[in-house]
C-alpha cells in the first residue's frame, strides 16, 4: 500500500524532555489500531528549532504544524487527521479559520530564517543514513574524492569566506591549509562538540538532527589535509547526540563511507567519539587536546598552533560542529554561492540559541548581517509578558551586552566586537527590566571563576577578585573606587591571561560598565537595586490600597513574616522577612511592592 502521510515528531532534547518519545510511541500504536499503520510513516526528526512551542509534530503532505502536543493527543491526530483527513484545529499553531493550513512558511518564526547548518534538522530521520543521502548527503564527499585535489578543496573554502563558528572567527581555509602544508604522516581531525556556553545548544541540536553532515565534513577534511583519524570530543551531558553519532558512524562504515578505502578509493579515514567531562575550558582548543589525551584540560601557550602541533604533537585541524556542518554545502553549491550570503566581513549564516525573556525561544539560523531587532522582534516575537527590553547578551561568559540603541546593528564578527561583545558560539540571551545587570554579570563571572583551570594567575586571581567586587556591590557594600579597579583588573586579564577563557572573562564586566554604569552606581551610591533582584538591597512592602486581605501571601510565607486578618490589610515584618519573594509571586492583586 502506498504511503499517504508522513508524520514528523521533533526528537530534539527540548521536545524529548516534554515527552516527545511517548507521543511518537502513541502515534505508532494509534496508527496500527486505526488500520493506517501501512499508509503513514512516523519519524522522529531533529530539532525544529521552535522550542517554545514544543513538543512539535508536523504532518506531510499537508504541512500541518501541530504545537504543544501531548502524548494523549496522538490518538486524535491519527483518527482525525490521518483517517478522516481533518486537521485537529486546537493543536495547530495558527488556529485561524481563514487559512486552510498553518503552513510552516507562514509562521513568522521561520520567515526570516535561512537554513544551511540546520538544513536537515526537522526534515529527516537522523537515525537513517538513506534519508541523509536522499538530501544530497555524501555527494560532496564523492565529489571531493573523485574530482578534487586537496588544493581544490582549500580554494573552494577560501572563496566561501567561511570563518570558524566556535567564537573567534578564524578563517577555516587557513587553518586547513596550515595542517595540509606540514609534512607528517600522522595528522588528526577533531570536532569540538564541547558546547559549554550556558544557554546555547546549537551544536547539540545539529548533532542530534543531522549527525552525518559532521561525519561527512570531517572525512572531507581528512582527505584534504592528509589525516586518517578523527575524534569527536563531545559533552558527556549530551547522551542523545552521542547515541545518534554512534549509530550514524556505524551506518557510514556499513556503506563504505567511513573506514577503509572509502567509496572504493585508497583513502581511509575513521572517527572515534571521546567524551568531555564538564569543563568549560575544554572548549579552548589546546585545553581540549589535553583532555583528549586523557589529562586535566589545561591550555598551553600558542604558538605552536594545533594546526602545526596539536594532538600528540601532530598537526591537527580543530573545528566546531557548526563550522563542520557548513562544509558539505560549500562543496556542493560552491564557495561563490556561499560568499553571496552574509556581509562583507562575515559570510554565510549563523545559528543562535535565542533564550531568556523572549516570547519564542528556540534555535534560529539567519544570514550574517541580519539585525538584532529582526531576530528578537520578528523571529522571537518580542519580549515575553509585555515587559520592557533591557539588553541582549551574546557570546556567553566571554561576551557582552547590547542595548536598545544598537538593535539595528547587523550581526557579524566585526560589528559585535565593536560593540564590546562577540559572536561566541551563538548563545543569545534576552533580558528584560526585571533583570539586574550587576547580578547577571556576577552570574557570568561566577561561571568563569568556577571554570578557570588555575594555571595562570591573571585568570585565577583576577577573576576571583572581580567576582568578589561584584559580590560586594550586589550586597550594598560596594565602593566607588571599585569601578576603576574593575576596569584595571579587567584590562590586565585581557592582556596577560594565557588562553581565551581568561582573556575574555572580564568582557561581561567591561561591557556592562560601558552601557550600564548608572546601574552600578545605584548599587554603590544609593544602595539600591533598580530591578529589585539583589536581595540585600530590597524590601517587600504591602500596598494598602491594593491589598484585599485574602491571606494568600500570609499562608505562603515560609517564615510567617506576614500578619493580618481576613479582609484587613496585611503587613510584612521586615525583621523576619527573608526576601524570598514568594509573597510577590503569590499575590494576584499586585499589592506587593519591591523597593
Amino acid at each position: 500500500m502506498a504511503l499517504t502521510n508522513y508524520i514528523l515528531v521533533c526528537g530534539g532534547t527540548g521536545c524529548e524532555s516534554a515527552k516527545a518519545d511517548q507521543i511518537y510511541k502513541n502515534l505508532l500504536t494509534a496508527a496500527q489500531a486505526s488500520g493506517v499503520g501501512d499508509t503513514v510513516q512516523i519519524l522522529k526528526t531533529g530539532c525544529f528549532g521552535f522550542c517554545e512551542q514544543g513538543p512539535i509534530v508536523k504532518i506531510l503532505p499537508e504541512d500541518s504544524f501541530y504545537v504543544q502536543v501531548k502524548p494523549e493527543d496522538a490518538e486524535e491526530l491519527i483518527k482525525e487527521h490521518i483517517v478522516k483527513g481533518r486537521e485537529v484545529k486546537r493543536l495547530l499553531y495558527d488556529k485561524s479559520e481563514s487559512k486552510k493550513h498553518a503552513r510552516v512558511e507562514d509562521i513568522q518564526f521561520y520567515q526570516k530564517q535561512f537554513r544551511i547548518v540546520l538544513r536537515n534538522c526537522g526534515f529527516i530521520n537522523p537515525e537513517d543514513i538513506d534519508e541523509y543521502i536522499a538530501r544530497e548527503g555524501y555527494v560532496a564527499l564523492e565529489r571531493v574524492l573523485g574530482d578534487m585535489s586537496p588544493d581544490d578543496v582549500i580554494q573552494e573554502l577560501k572563496k566561501s569566506g567561511l570563518k570558524g563558528r566556535g567564537g573567534a572567527g578564524f578563517p577555516t581555509w587557513l587553518k586547513w591549509n596550515f595542517t595540509k602544508d606540514v609534512e607528517d604522516d600522522e595528522k588528526y581531525i577533531v570536532c569540538n562538540a564541547d558546547e559549554g556556553d550556558p544557554g546555547a545548544y546549537m551544536d547539540r541540536s545539529t548533532l542530534e538532527g543531522d549527525p552525518h553532515s559532521v561525519l561527512e565534513a570531517m572525512t572531507i577534511a581528512g582527505y584534504t589535509v592528509g589525516a586518517q583519524m578523527g575524534y569527536i570530543y563531545i559533552r558527556a551531558e549530551y547522551p542523545l547526540a552521542i547515541n545518534r553519532l554512534k549509530a550514524a558512524m556505524q551506518q557510514a562504515r556499513d556503506y563504505g563511507l567511513l573506514g577503509e578505502d572509502i567509496l572504493g578509493t585508497d583513502f581511509s579515514f575513521d572517527i572515534e567519539i571521546r567524551l568531555g567531562a564538564g569543563a568549560f575550558v575544554c572548549g579552548e582548543e589546546t585545553a581540549l587536546l589535553a583532555s583528549l589525551e586523557g589529562n586535566r584540560g589545561m591550555p598551553r601557550p600558542r604558538p605552536p598552533f594545533p594546526a602545526v602541533k596539536g594532538l600528540w604533537n601532530k598537526p591537527t585541524v580543530i573545528n566546531n560542529v557548526e563550522t563542520w556542518a557548513n562544509i558539505p554545502v560549500i562543496i556542493l553549491k560552491g564557495g561563490d554561492w556561499f560568499a553571496q550570503i552574509g556581509t562583507e566581513d562575515s559570510k554565510g549564516t549563523k545559528v543562535f540559541a535565542l533564550t531568556g525573556k523572549i516570547r519564542n525561544s528556540g534555535l534560529v539560523e539567519v544570514p550574517m548581517g541580519t539585525t538584532l531587532r529582526e531576530i528578537i522582534y520578528d523571529i522571537g516575537g518580542g519580549i515575553a509578558n509585555d515587559k520592557e527590553f533591557k539588553a541582549v547578551q551574546t557570546g556567553g561568559p566571554s561576551g557582552g551586552v547590547i542595548t536598545k540603541e544598537y538593535l539595528d546593528t547587523p550581526i557579524d564578527y566585526k560589528h559585535l566586537q565593536e560593540l564590546g561583545s562577540m559572536m561566541g558560539s551563538g548563545g543569545m540571551i534576552v533580558m528584560d527590566e526585571d533583570d539586574c545587570i550587576v547580578d547577571v554579570t556576577k552570574f557570568y563571572l561566577g561561571f568563569t571563576v568556577d571554570e578557570s583551570c588555575g594555571k595562570c594567575s591573571p585568570c585565577r586571581v583576577g577573576g576571583r577578585t572581580l567576582y568578589n567586587m561584584l559580590d560586594k556591590i550586589t550586597k550594598g557594600e560596594g565602593e566607588i573606587e571599585d569601578i576603576d579597579k574593575m576596569h584595571q583588573i579587567g584590562k590586565a586579564m585581557k592582556k596577560a591571561s594565557l588562553c581565551g577563557l581568561g582573556q575574555t572573562a572580564p568582557n561581561p564586566i567591561l561591557s556592562t560598565l560601558r552601557y550600564f554604569e548608572k546601574e552600578y552606581l545605584a548599587h554603590i551610591k544609593e544602595k539600591k537595586c533598580p530591578s529589585g533582584k539583589c536581595k540585600e538591597l530590597i524590601s517587600y512592602y504591602i500596598l494598602a490600597d491594593k491589598c484585599i486581605g485574602c491571606m494568600a501571601c500570609a499562608r505562603k510565607c515560609p517564615v510567617a513574616a506576614i500578619t493580618g486578618e481576613r479582609r484587613k490589610i496585611h503587613r510584612i515584618d521586615q525583621d523576619i522577612c527573608i526576601k524570598c519573594g514568594i509573597c510577590y509571586e503569590t499575590c494576584k492583586f499586585d499589592a506587593i511592592y519591591v523597593g
Binding site: 550556558p198 567524551l275 586535566r296 533564550t355 548563545g427
Partner: protein, 158 residues
Amino acid sequence: MAEQKEKFTFSDELVSYIKEWKQKRGNLIMVLHRVQQEFRYVPKEAAERVAEMLDVPLAKIYGVLTFYHYFKIKEPGEYNIQVCMGTACYLKGGDGLVEELENVLGVSEQEVTEDGRFSFESVRCVGCCGLAPVLVVGEEVYGKVTKDQIPGIIAKYQ
C-alpha cells in the same frame, strides 16, 4: 571491609572495557566515565583498581577526577536532583529553586539527606532553554518549575 570490597567489584563488562581501552592512547577519561556509569560515582577503591589496571599513578587519576565537574568522588543520594544553571534558567529563577531545595531537603548542595535518598546539585546548561527553569530527577525533566512545585516533585520519589 570485606563488604566494602564486595560492593565495588568490577563487572566482567567493565573489566573488558578497561582492557580494550588500555590499548588506546588518552584512555583515562573514557575509563573513568565507564566506572562512574557502574557505581554512579568513582569510589576510592575503584580509582585504585583503575590505577593498577591502566598502570597510571593514583595521583594522576585524582588530578583528573577533581578537575572535571562531571566526575563525582562522593556517593550522591539515591535521587540526585539537578537544577539547571544555564543563563536562561538563572534569569527565570533557577537560583530560587536551589534555595527552595535547600529548605525542603534540609541539606546544602552536594550533600545527601540523612536517609540517603536525596541530594541535589546545580549543573551546567542542560539545553532545553525553552522550558526554563528546568530541574532534572533521574531521566525525568521538569520544565517551567516554580518554587511551590518543589515539595510535590520531591514527594513523588519518597
